[in-house]
Amino acid sequence: MAAQTHTRQHPAFYAILVMLIFMAVGPIVLMLINSFKLDVDIISGTGGLLFLPTIQNYETALCDVLPYELDHLDFCALKFGGAFVNSLIIALVSTLLTLIIGCMAAYALVRFRFMGRDVASVSTLMLRMVPPAVLLVPVFGLWNNEFCLDRDGLLGGAIRDTFGGRGDVCLAGTHSGIILIYVAMNLPFVIWILQSFIVQVPRQLEEAARMDGAGPFQVFFLVVLPLIKPGLAAAAIFTFRIAWNEYLLASALSDRDTKTVPILIVNNMSEFNVEWGVIMATGMLLAIPPIVFTLFASRQIITGMTAGAVKG
C-alpha cells in the first residue's frame, strides 16, 4: 500500500469513528477492568475506575500452575492451567495438520485435472456449511462406540497396559479425538480460501522449476508454498480461532483430563453463584491469544476474510 494522503474531513466523521471504536472495544475493556476487581467492588459498583486493581482473580484462576501457595484460597477448584495446556495442544496440532493437508488438497484442486475433481470440489464447498451442532450426535456416537480399538487386540491392549483404565480404547476423551474432528471441520474452509491464493501463483514459475528437474512435491513445497505465505497466515489464524474457541464438540468429546478452556468457563457460568471477577479473568485469558493475533495480523485477517467471501 502506498503512502496515503489523508484529506481533511468534516469533524463529524471523526466523532463517528471514535464512537464506533468505543462501541467495538467497550465490552472487551469492561471485561478487562472487571477482571482486576474484587467481587465486592464489582457488586457495589461505586465509581467505574476508582478501585484497587488486584491480580487475585488471575491467581485463583491459575491456582493449579502457580509455584506459590495462595493465602485467600484453601482449595484449588478451578484447574485452569491444565485446561489451558489442553486448549493449546489441541489448537496448535489441529491448525498445523489442517494447514498441511488443506494446502495440498487445494493445490490438487487448482492445478490438476483429475477424475472426481468436480465432485471433490463441490462436496468440499457443501461440507463447509455443516454446523458443529449437526455433528454433535453422530460424533458423540461414533467416537464413543465405533472408533475404538478392541481392548483384547494388540494395539488396544498395549495402550490399556500403558495408560490403565477399563473397556475398549476409544477416540472420545483423548486429545486426538478432538483434534480429528477439528481438522475435518476446518479443512473445507482452508481448502476454499487457499484455492484463491494458489490460482494467483504464476504457472511459469512452476514450469521453470519442473524444467530444472524438480518433482511435483519439490515444486509444491519449494516454489508454491513460499509464494502463498499470506494465504497460509490467514488460513492459520482462522483455523486456530475455531479450534481455540470451540465449545460444543469439545464438551461432548472430552473427559476430566482433556477439558479445554471454553468448557471450563461454561461449567463455571452455570453455577448458581457466579464469581464474576474470576470468571472474567478466565475469559480474558481465553481471549488473549486471539486479541494478540488480531493486533499483529489484522492485514492478513482482512485479506483472508475478503478472499473467502468475494471469491464465492
Binding site: 474531513q9 466523521f13 463517528i16 469513528l17 464506533l20 462501541m23 467495538a24 472495544v25 465490552p27 469492561l30 471485561m31 472487571n34 495440498m104 492445478r111 490438476f112 471433490a120 464447498l125 457443501m126 461440507l127 456449511m129 455443516v130 454446523p131 458443529p132 451442532a133 455433528l135 454433535l136 450426535v137 458423540f140 461414533l142 462406540n145 481438522v183 475435518a184 471441520m185 479443512l187 511435483p216 509444491f220 480461532r241 474457541n245 465449545y247 460444543l248 461432548a252 471454553p262 468457563i265 461454561v266 457460568m269 452455570s270 464474576w276 481465553l286 481471549a287 486471539p290 486479541i291 488480531t294 493486533l295 489484522s298 482482512i302 476474510m305 475478503t306 467471501a309 468475494v310 464465492g312
Partner: protein
C-alpha cells in the same frame, strides 16, 4: 513409470484431505441419517437400537416446542442478518473516504469476531445483569426505569449481542468491495453531475451487489450456527424464548438423552442449510456465466 507417477500426483495431494473428510464428516453424516430412524439413547450401541421408521421426524413435525424453536431460530437469523446488513453497508458507504484512523478502526473492529463466542456471551451476560450490569446501572444513573434484558426481552438482547459481534464482518467486506469499484464509473458519474445519493443508489450499490449477496448468504448460514453466545447468556430461556435450533439439538442429546430425535432435528437443520448453500452456489455460477457471456460479447465486437 514416470507418467503413471505423474497421473497419480493429484490423488496423492488430495488423498489425506479426502480420507479425513470421509472419516470425520461424510461417515458421521450418514451415521446421523441412519440414527435418525431409530430410537436411540446414549448408552446404547447403534446396532442394539430399535428401528422406528419416520416416527422421529413425524413427532418433531407435530411438536409445538420444536416449532417454537424453529420460529425463534428463523426470527433470530432473519433479524440479525437484516440489521447487520443495513448497519454494515451503511457504515461502509459513510466511511469510505480517506480518514486518518481508518486502519485502527478496522483492526479493532475485527476483535469481537475473533474472541471466543463463550467469552462474548460472558461479557454480555454481565452487561445485561439485572442489578450489577452496565446497562441497568446506566439507566439507574439517568433515572430511567430498569429493563429486564435477559428476561422479557431476552431475544432482543441476544440479537443485540450478535449485532455487536458480527456487523464489523459485513462492514469490512462491503468496504473492501467499495474500494475495489472501478474508479472510472464513479468519475464519469461525477462529471455528469450525479449527487452523492444518486451515486450510491445507481452506481455503488448495483456494482457491489454480487459481493453483498454472497456476504448476506454467508452471514445467514453462520447465523444458524450460533450456539455458544446464547448458551452462556440465557441457556435458551426464559422458557423457550431464545432456544435456537442448535441449542435444542444439544439439549435433546445431552439432557433428554434422545439421540434419535436429536439426529432427526439435525437433519432438518442440515436440509435448511443445504438449501441456502445451494442458493449461493447457483447464484455464483449464474454470475460467472453472465460474466463469461459479457466477455464473449465484447470479444466478438472486437
Amino acid at each position: 513409470m514416470k507418467s503413471t507417477l505423474n497421473r497419480l500426483t493429484p490423488y496423492v495431494f488430495f488423498m489425506p484431505a479426502a480420507v479425513i473428510m470421509i472419516i470425520a464428516l461424510f461417515y458421521p453424516l450418514l451415521y446421523m441419517i441412519w440414527g435418525s430412524f431409530r430410537r436411540w439413547s446414549p448408552s446404547q450401541q447403534i446396532g442394539e437400537t430399535e428401528f422406528v421408521g419416520l416416527r422421529n421426524y413425524i413427532s418433531l413435525w407435530n411438536d409445538p416446542n420444536f416449532a417454537e424453536s424453529m420460529g425463534v431460530t428463523l426470527k433470530f437469523a432473519v433479524s440479525v442478518v437484516t440489521i447487520e446488513m443495513l448497519l454494515g453497508v451503511g457504515l461502509a458507504l459513510l466511511l469510505d473516504r480517506n480518514i486518518r484512523g481508518m486502519s485502527v478502526l478496522r483492526t479493532l473492529f475485527i476483535l469481537p469476531m475473533m474472541i471466543a463466542p463463550v467469552v462474548v456471551g460472558l461479557m454480555w451476560r454481565y452487561i445485561y445483569h439485572p442489578t450489577i450490569g452496565t446497562f441497568n446501572r446506566f439507566l439507574d444513573t439517568i433515572g430511567v426505569e430498569r429493563v429486564d434484558w435477559l428476561g422479557q426481552n431476552a431475544l432482543m438482547s441476544v440479537i443485540i449481542a450478535d449485532i455487536w459481534q458480527w456487523t464489523p464482518f459485513i462492514f469490512i467486506l462491503s468496504l473492501a468491495a467499495l474500494q475495489s469499484l472501478p474508479q472510472s464509473a464513479l468519475e464519469a458519474s461525477r462529471i455528469d453531475g450525479a449527487t452523492g445519493w444518486q451515486q450510491i443508489w445507481h452506481i455503488k450499490i448495483p456494482l457491489m451487489m454480487p459481493v453483498l449477496i454472497v456476504t448476506c448468504l454467508l452471514r445467514l448460514i453462520d447465523a444458524f450456527k450460533v450456539l455458544e453466545v446464547i448458551l452462556v447468556m440465557t441457556e435458551g430461556g426464559p422458557g423457550l424464548s431464545t432456544e435456537i435450533l442448535a441449542l435444542r439439538i444439544s439439549r435433546t442429546a445431552t439432557e433428554f438423552r434422545e439421540l434419535g430425535v436429536a439426529a432427526a432435528m439435525s437433519n432438518y437443520l442440515l436440509i435448511l442449510l443445504m438449501l441456502l448453500t445451494a442458493a449461493m452456489f447457483t447464484y455464483t455460477k449464474l454470475q460467472e456465466a453472465r460474466a463469461n457471456r459479457l466477455r464473449m460479447a465484447v470479444e466478438a465486437d472486437d
